[in-house]
């Protein structure tokens, strides 16, 4: 048996199932007699049991089996016990998630967890959660039966391994690039020749092929949005706040490689919204708001992008606190902070080292701030927007491209190489005297608009021979993780849309190289991930 193949299938499907199971439990929290949700939870536990059993993951099989038993009993009685039964089911779900993640990390299921088994068999009582549970916790998706409702039907679908798909896409990429090269060559002989016109036609057909091929890699946002209501419930309990979450547009599709990377940022935004945005119930009452806070995670299509916004109806960003923190962190001079307009103050939350609450967020066990959210989204060719109204709430939007592979770039020559810098990062291009670049210790600065800007010598960064101190130095002014920096290049070679292929592993010694492509004339180009330069 090809274990690796089944493990991949298992992980993919088990995670889908756990997502559905979580949705069903939330629906049961709202209505313990929701028959559809009981049925769904039963089936998901049963199915996970069957898969885990086939792979010899005994600890997972056992826990799934106990959950299935509990759901079977609920099927018989028509409801779950919201006070004693439901927390046990959530514990079982959490346990399964941990075990499935362990399979992903270690390749095998962890040893059995007697405590969890004890709780599920009813031999021991679950340890109470940190915050006292309210009788009817307010966190639940707004659409009443949404989690238990059937997912969009996968009409006559086949499951293809991501690896196979990537190889296919890579081949399509080759076709696109080769046809572009042929077209460039044909145009050299004249634009109206039969072969040039033929290649123009081919270019259109290949463009269509590319669009269709890229759409194969897409998956619905549901995958990353589905866990959010439950996350909100947990964070709400821990912080003593009550929040209701509504998901919209979860059926929209995104490239998987992008989808996988918007998950963590969304988790962070939801945590932030509850932690920093939504007020405690008493405070909300005083302000004449409903005690139940409201969070809307809304996804919508905008041309070639998808905008995912997380909106809360909380207090809005505390600008004075942000100002004070920015001054403390040395990001802004005290005298200057006073005069900063509100939107610029709000934008400070994206700067590294600024958190309006002193503690470090525990998402995925590492400190992740808004600056990391911004860097992640931008490395995907997207952007983050923030809108906050005092007393009314905050909306943070992630705007990401639907497909990862095609990017508009500025081409720049560095020694014998050509690098591609995403246009979205480029502010403008200036040329200065190389001698005017000031050295201070190991760093160099150039005066741009009377302001010293850090100069990064791309030749040095890419391990090539550094530039000399003579002649003109073209500088690409770009924004890197909130900082304005000048990328020193040798020459500029225009703009272009490129199809970026992942860098071959051997070449990926520099983290700043995000991908590789071949231009119409056959020359290779490295795509730069500017966020990795600092």
């Amino acid at each position: 048996m090809d274990l690796a193949k089944y493990r991949t299938l298992f992980l993919e499907e088990a995670r889908d199932h756990l997502g559905e199971l979580g949705g069903a439990l939330l629906a049961l929290e709202k209505n313990p007699g929701n028959g559809e949700a009981i049925d769904l939870a039963f089936r998901m536990a049963h199915s996970i049991k069957g898969m885990a059993g086939s792979l010899g993951y005994d600890s997972i099989t056992e826990v799934a089996h106990l959950l299935e038993d509990r759901m079977d009993a609920a099927r018989a009685s028509g409801r779950v016990d919201p006070v004693e039964g439901l927390p046990v089911l959530f514990r079982g779900l959490d346990g399964l998630e941990l075990m499935v993640n362990a399979v992903a990390d270690t390749g095998d299921a962890p040893p059995p967890n007697p405590e969890l088994v004890g709780i599920l068999t009813g031999d021991s009582v679950p340890v109470a959660e940190e915050a006292p549970a309210e009788p009817a916790p307010g966190v639940a998706p707004a659409a009443p039966e949404a989690p238990a409702a059937p997912r969009p039907a996968a009409a006559a679908s086949v499951r293809v391994r991501t690896e196979t798909l990537d190889r296919f896409l890579s081949a399509v990429g080759e076709v696109i690039l080769t046809s572009r090269q042929a077209r460039t060559a044909a145009h050299r002989e004249g634009r109206a020749t039969p072969s040039a016109l033929g290649f123009d036609r081919m270019d259109r057909v290949v463009g269509e092929l590319q669009r269709r091929a890229l759409s194969l890699r897409t998956a619905p946002l549901l995958r990353v949005m589905e866990p959010l209501p439950r996350l909100a419930r947990d964070v709400g309990r821990r912080t003593g706040k009550r929040v209701e979450v509504e998901l919209r547009g979860a059926e929209l599709e995104l490239d998987r490689s992008i989808l996988d990377r918007v998950g963590d940022p969304l988790v962070h935004l939801v945590r932030n919204a509850i932690d920093h945005g939504v007020e405690p119930p008493a405070e909300r009452r005083e302000r004449g708001k409903a005690e139940l806070g409201r969070l809307v995670v809304d996804a919508r299509r905008e041309k070639d992008s998808i905008r995912i916004s997380v909106s809360d109806d909380g207090a809005g960003i505390d600008l004075d606190a942000v100002r004070a923190r920015a001054v403390d962190a040395g990001l802004v001079h005290e005298g200057l902070a006073e005069d900063l307009p509100p939107d610029e103050v709000a934008a400070l939350v994206f700067r590294p080292g600024l958190s309006t609450k002193p503690e470090v967020s525990d998402i995925s066990g590492r400190g992740v701030g808004m600056d990391a959210v911004k860097a992640t989204i931008e490395s995907l060719g997207g952007r983050v927007e923030l809108e906050s109204r005092p007393g009314l709430g905050t909306t943070t939007s992630l705007v990401v491209p639907i497909t990862a592979a095609v990017q508009r770039v500025l081409l720049a020559g560095v020694r014998e190489e050509t690098v591609a810098i995403p246009i979205s990062k480029v502010e403008r291009i200036v040329e200065v005297e190389a001698q005017g670049i000031e050295r201070s210790g190991r760093e160099s600065f150039a005066l741009i608009d009377d302001e010293p800007v850090l100069v990064l010598d791309l030749a040095r960064r890419l391990g090539l021979e550094p530039f000399s101190d003579d002649g003109q130095a073209p500088l690409v002014i770009a924004e890197v993780r909130g900082e304005r920096v000048a990328l020193r290049v040798e020459r500029l070679a225009g703009q272009q849309e490129i199809y970026v292929k992942p860098v071959p592993r051997l070449l990926a010694s520099s983290r700043a190289l995000a991908g590789l492509t071949v231009l119409g004339d056959g020359s290779p180009v490295f795509a730069l991930d500017v966020n990795q330069l600092l």
Binding site: F10, E13, H17, S47, G50, M51, S54, G56
Partner: protein, 120 residues
């Protein structure tokens, strides 16, 4: 031998495929719920159906009755898990020919299919 495989987990469908296809069985279709299996059964007219008991929309149990009503000669093998003995017996009474138990053991699966196909 043309086989229709019905299970809500694609993992399980793949596993069955990998067990039976090298032995000369042809999986002509897959269904992921109890309604789809009936549709595919009508459309593909398979020689044999491997049917999971627990499925969305309509249970494997109801699907057995439906398939037998459509074709009293339908050869159906139930895919069950431990602890579902009562359901398996019910399915056999409703017209299923045999059953296999998850986790699947390739030899047992193949032996069961052979037995069912030989009992013409």
């Amino acid at each position: 031998m043309r086989v229709l495989v019905a299970d809500d987990a694609s993992f399980m469908r793949q596993m069955i495929r990998d067990i039976i296809e090298p032995e000369g069985y042809e999986v002509v279709g897959e269904a992921s719920d109890g309604v789809e299996v009936t549709e595919k059964f009508k459309e593909l007219e398979p020689d044999l159906v491997m049917l999971d008991i627990v499925m969305p929309k309509r249970s494997g149990m109801d699907a057995v009755r439906e398939l037998v009503a459509l074709d009293s000669g339908a050869k159906i093998v139930m895919c069950s898990a431990l602890g579902q003995e009562a359901l398996v017996m019910e399915a056999m009474q409703a017209g299923a020919r045999d059953f296999i138990v998850k986790p699947f053991k390739p030899d047992a699966v193949l032996a069961t299919l052979k037995k069912v196909m030989e009992k013409e």
